[in-house]
Symmetry: C2
Amino acid sequence: MAARHEEIAEELRQAIDRGEYPVGGPLPTETELSARYAVSRGTVRQAVAALTAEGRIGSRQGARRVVLGNRRSQSFAELRSFAQWAAAMGRTATGRVLEQHRRPATAEDAEKLQIKRGDEVLQVLRVRGLDGDPVLLERNVYAAWMADSVERLPAECVSVVQALYEDIGMVFAYGEHVIDAVAAGAEDARLLGIRRGSPLLRIRRVTTTPAGRPIEWSDDRYVSGTVSFTVANSIGSNPLARQAGQA
Amino acid sequence: MAARHEEIAEELRQAIDRGEYPVGGPLPTETELSARYAVSRGTVRQAVAALTAEGRIGSRQGARRVVLGNRRSQSFAELRSFAQWAAAMGRTATGRVLEQHRRPATAEDAEKLQIKRGDEVLQVLRVRGLDGDPVLLERNVYAAWMADSVERLPAECVSVVQALYEDIGMVFAYGEHVIDAVAAGAEDARLLGIRRGSPLLRIRRVTTTPAGRPIEWSDDRYVSGTVSFTVANSIGSNPLARQAGQA
DNA sequence: CAGAATCACTTGTCCGAACAAGTCGATGAC
DNA sequence: GTCATCGACTTGTTCGGACAAGTGATTCTG
């Protein structure tokens, strides 16, 4: 947390959570904040831009900024890692590898991982649980250059993300998520202990390194009622997009 | 389109879509871009910051920016409005009001719309279709100060958002979306023409004016397979958050 | 009294500069 | 040949200034 504008953003977040700036009320002006923190106006603007992107405050030219809400957004690590997310909530996560094998890349693998068709990939099927109950079925496909490190992990590994970071310093930096709902198939139902046809929340995701190199893509299916996802957007910044039909 | 940094951002987006900067490849340096467009480095940084927030490019200190993908994200207007989104895809949207009545606000209404319990609200039930097939069941609750304008709309109104903008200049500026999957209830199934228990993608959202005043909240249920949502995030900016289910 | 004009204030845009921090290829030592 | 060092290059941070554009309350006008 070196950068001054990040410190200021964090102080503002906490001030909002404390109720110092009530929801629906105005934030101090940029001039006042720059005086209070002894920084230039540009630095203050970087700080409030972060809160705007998170959907915590609204902003219009000419009028004071408005506090929209105080929900806490999670770090990328917490979103990416089921185990870290569960730990942050005070719940215990479990994980078990059911299946793991290498195979040549299909056309879909090749496109998503930016590799050639037929290159070797590592496919893994995991079940994840929360406080004992199975909640999530995870189908991952890793690029070949990651396969060795993933295979070395124990079958009961709770946090894959953390293990990979500690072993080889691998950082997951970017992600694209496609969200929809599907009915549980026969295999889904058996492995999650639910009825066939039950609704599942499906998140398909591609993750890349800081250099933009794809690491893995995955198909996560959450049991209905166990997990929901939140996203904030605005007329200015719009991370959420709707897409039609099958893809 | 006035702001220079927005123009540059749009030109970069188109250049990426044209394949001028291939996926996985580097973007020109800030210095080169500022020379090419005859603007200062700060203006270029504003432009590339927008693309970074959209997840199209990645950025690390010291290294050149990397093109992560060329997916096109819809504008906020298209996301807010089912009809505009459908039109942008070359499909025809339909809409029909099934039920509409005023009632006192419940505790849930009061919290989400920042009004007092018992204040009047307007509840509306709509079915939306794509190319003739029913796709979406929409349950909206509008704050009292919006009720008159909404009631004046025709029952078959295709685009509520656009109609409200043209009538009274109302703009939907901010939104918070909670996404999960649910099974279709008896009413859902009957109105959407699907089997009971079929998976539905549920989006609950609250929208507000540019001034941060809540306009409405709604519960949208999409038929499985018709629509999906995409969100990009990164270690730096993360609009997406996971929450434990609370029913 | 209602509506229009005014004006202080606030945010948005853009500039130019300087330094810090990190990356990556080239060079040189072992 | 391998590895560490170096240095050019690139992005990140911060400053200070200037003007444009929009808001909202006050004042003025009919």
